[in-house]
Amino acid sequence: MYLYSLTLQKATGIICAINGNFSGGKSQEIVVARGKVLDLLRPDENGKLQSLLSVEIFGAIRSLAQFRLTGAQKDYIVVGSDSGRIVILEYNKEKNTFEKIHQETFGKSGCRRIVPGQYLAVDPKGRAVMIGACEKQKLVYVLNRDTSARLTISSPLEAHKSHTIVYSICGVDCGFDNPIFAAIELDYSEADQDPTGQAANEAQKLLTFYELDLGLNHVSRKWSEQVDNGANLLVTVPGGGDGPSGVLVCAENFVIYKNQGHPDVRAVIPRREDLPAERGVLIVSAAMHKQKTMFFFLLQTEYGDIFRVTLDHDNDRVKELKIKYFDTIPVTSSLCVLKSGFLFAASEFGNHALYQFQAIGDDPDVEASSATLMETEEGFQPVFFQPRKLKNLVRIDQVESLMSMMDMKVSNLFEEETPQIFTLCGRGPRSSLRILRPGLAISEMAVSQLPGVPSAVWTVKKNVNDEFDAYIVVSFANATLVLSIGETVEEVSDSGFLDTTPSLSVSLIGDDSLMQVHPSGIRHIREDGRINEWRTPGKRTIVKVGSNRLQVVIALSGGELIYFEVDMTGQLMEVEKHEMSGDVACLDIAPVPEGRQRSRFLAVGSYDNTIRILSLDPDDCMQILSLQSVSSPPESLLFLEVQASIGGEDGADHPASLFLNAGLQNGVLFRTVVDMVTGQLSDARSRFLGLRAPKLFSIAVRGRRAMLCLSSRPWLGYIHQGHFLLTPLSYETLEFAASFSSDQCAEGVVAVAGDALRVFTIERLGESFNETAIPLRYTPRKFVLHPKRKLLVTIESDQGAFTAEEREAAKKESFEAAGMGENGNANQIENGDDEDNSDPLSDEQYGYPKAESGKWVSCIRVLDPRTAQTTCLLELQDNEAAFSMCTVNFHDKEYGTLLAVGTAKGLQFWPKRSFEAGFIHIYRFKEDGKVLELLHKTQVEGVPLALCQFQGRLLAGIGPILRLYDLGKRRLLRKCENKLFPNSITSIHTYRDRIFVGDMQESFHYCKYRRDENQLYIFADDTVPRWLTAAHHIDFDTMAGTDKFGNVFFVRLPQDVSDEIEEDPTGGKIKWEQGKLNGAPNKVEEIVQFHVGDVVSCLYKATLIPGGGECILYGTVMGSLGAFLPFASRDDVDFFSHLEMHMRQEHPPLCGRDHMAYRSSYFPVKDVIDGDLCEQFPTLPMDMQRKIADELDRTPGEILKKLEEIRNKII
């Protein structure tokens, strides 16, 4: 089996983010690392974040930093990855690519503890960069420029210190003195030697300054001092005239200012009032904002509260450190303060957000200061605050993130054309169920009812140079309605259009006149109001029209074509007539090429299943240039011109080309390339769009021409980052559409469907899914579909949180307390605003109050995804948490489908995994499955991590025991068990009498249940100890699994072994056969192996589009979705493996990781072709594309077609 791996949705979570001027000039950009993807984002003028570029680097990005050479206008990006190399990138605005400026190898590849890459720090003046490992190694590179102002990089200087763990590093701003880097370090050499553990208890963190002597070209330890043992983060303090220099050390509960030769200045981080006393407060992300006259820091705690830290200083002496409550937003992995007044918050889990600053926190608020720090016998006096509504920030945009996808299933619950993907995402209060549908999201601007059922709609401008459309013209069966677009859209009668007849086409003709084509003639409305009418000869009527700005062709009934041109005076003149052999089905004229008088091509579709290209040149007018036969009569034709591009914003290197698209009556979209000179058609592609014949319309998307195809659902064909993408829109069936542009909506679409006029815009181009989110209460763990009733059942659980009732009570109490404070003590209420009472703080933003770590909350929820209604929610009591679930039908028992839920009570992971008890709850569905009722619960001796129905009974994986249960009156009855599993069972799949058991650490075990002996036998297992995270059953002998290191693998039982197991008549063999070293007697074979590079948390087998191939879908923790499609032919395998090979050679990954080594990070890659690499083919320069294509004996066009074809099989 050979598989094609393709990422359907790139990772949406963010590991780290930096901001700067990467394109030069004034604009502010953000570079984010999403695991293996590097993205460039920019907030546009409307405050929406736009993704400019997204590059898969085939390696793990561990850290990012930006720097700027003194006096330069542009920032460079430094990337620390698992490639064992430091890479410096520059963003090229013209080509819209990241360019590798330098790549220096320093160590082994992979994320190892002593290979640098985990930490990056740059000198604030851009003279040096330090790259550090978790342990021991730190390297310093000197950055400079050569005579032609190009960036140079030195050979590395070592700043190693063995037996030292590094927690954080940063550059120290010391102006133009020698660059200094600060690091929080812990020396463990003594602790390692001392068996009593005393030294380990006394180990002390140190803050160390490393100085790079630019004169001697040497790094030395300059200064080292003990620092609080809770220190975890360093923040650079401006220096060199702008500030006092030094660093902020963020420690548990404190922020400390430190500098060489300066006494510590320490302030306590304010605590939330409801925080349990044993919990500390840690800073998780920090950002510094510097202006000419002032600077401040924003530090975010692990609970989401942001504090503004200011330093009161007198030159180099810091007098006071103040920590003032700023605002509360969800916990971030990185904060970026943009110079343009935005704050980008890259959330740890859930959607990312862009905020705008309303104020910079100058108003009085709760403040802790070094000056008022009180030390008592119990330690430092804490400062308390209450979170309040956003005061200084306002959220203006958010970017969806599926980060920490926990479970996924694909099913067509809504009975739509394509199945929906249900995913469980997020964590704690920000968790959600997200329903993904393949297609682009649209936002509906307006829907208005019309007096009848319209048949068509057009928009026209009054003048070519107008920016916006002037009229919307709607045609009915026997009338035409004209609406003018202004502040509002209203009907007008003075437009000059004939309103007593239906229209066939309405357009702008010439520079400033309008044309209306109706069945009995052409009405030409001049700018000054004069109207020219052209009437059809005899009783013939016009049936089809094709026009561009200067040319019009009409088709009369009977098959006569009449060709008109706009002459110099703006008159419409008849030029030529042509008799076709039969009726014309559709026609279209290519747009007028720039700088030309007319377009050369007219396409005519006939009912004899042909499309002809006719010439419109005066020399050979109406001559047939080429002919194409198609599978079914064409319904609609559209020429789409693609302008030449050399890259730039949102494009790759490609020459200008003209495509002819045809919607055929059998629902197929047919697409060919038209030779710009001869009119010959070549490179035909077709794709089935839906059950109705596609109607094609030209619209504008991001300033380029795009194609809207209306079949049984709308599709959009557009070019995105060099690829032509044909993507469905998530919208209802439309009849007719036109582009729409007004001052409220620059690039919209107006469409008719039923008796309504709809105006909408298309959003988030380039994405393949759009999502609907339903919020959940706690971190979702698993869900099951109840297919008959179309319901979802989820289990959710969180550690260290309060139950809903407790939270409600606490909230009430705190509000009461705040109210009392208002009456009694006036200065306590500064953040207990009155509005808070009416508008309680949303948990999604502020997080749940924290409880002791041993406390669990959990719930079981029945959800109707169609209405997003929760029909039943059971909170588990008594510190129980749910971990596994399945639906089960017990044989000949009265209840029908039951729900089994595995729970654990008082589960703890630290210092040792322990629990008080495990249970299996059995629930029955009531009221059409909407409500759950507990039947009974059975105590078991382990945590049931896996449950599955098997032959009318329940199989449970309880720790290392696989057990078969039957339903009893008051409890589950243990019927049979096997205790021979190595660690802990995490997944169970069954097929006939085979049971596929996944062990937490030891991969799959194949078992068989023998009825006649009532025994479970393990007959095969894997040779590789895999740490399973997800599993899916493929066929009788095959299982697909993923491990926690990011590998996907398929294992298969060899055919002869499978036969022997199935054909063992006495059963003696399976019973007595023994393996070696306590293993099973037979071993499964690994047939597929691939390193995804991200922890895969769920697998599912599904077909995403009708007529597509069945593929294995996977979802990852970082929130990406991918698919594995099995190849159908050997030829395809050969082609793609060669393409992959060439791509590996000619286009090595951006950050220096070898592609082959990356995909083989843990096990050699086997029988999987990396589609993500193959799809980078169009981003190569043209000559390189041609070279690779030559090697493969094809043209670049054919390769693109192949890539498109295989993508279309998946989605």
Partner: protein, 208 residues
Amino acid sequence: MSVFGGDSWGREAQHRKRRVDDLLIENVEASLYKKLPSGKFACLVCPNNPVLDTATTLSTHVNGARHRSAELKHRERKLAREEEVNRRLAFSDSVSINSASSASIKPRKTSNKPLIERTRKATSEVFSGEFIRKEVKSETVNPIKIEEKHDTVVVEVQPLDYRERNERELKFTEAGWKRDGHGRWFKDENVEFDSDEEDPNIVLNDSV
């Protein structure tokens, strides 16, 4: 002739040597020895499988008395095995002729899996002939009559069909019942039972 040049005599000499080796080995039957990846030879006939360094030593070994006697024994054993195989083949053919009435079932040859072969044979017998069915019928045809003396009412208990009974028994084993040496059912102590569970001793005996 230069050793360092291209026309070294060494290669030719090596070639000659290999040719001699080939000739020496030619008269030894290929199934009696094995060429190891190291270039040495292992004799497959002698019970201790001696490893011989070169073709020359192999040929002398083959001519040795010990090898000859081993070879003789080996031949005998081979013959005996062949005879046995033929005998069994003949037997299996006769079975397949018997079952040839149903043409669709062809016994496939799986010589390396005797167990599967036997299963196939058994199933082909079941499918083609009335081999087992006859026994079953003899049971089912004659209903057992239990005459109860006081009422002199003849209760006719229809005994279960063989398959049905088998299925019932399986259900009980599945549920955790076991059988002792006398065919009586008892509960497996590792298995849990519901309070009102059916007792196979009663259910099955009633129906017999």
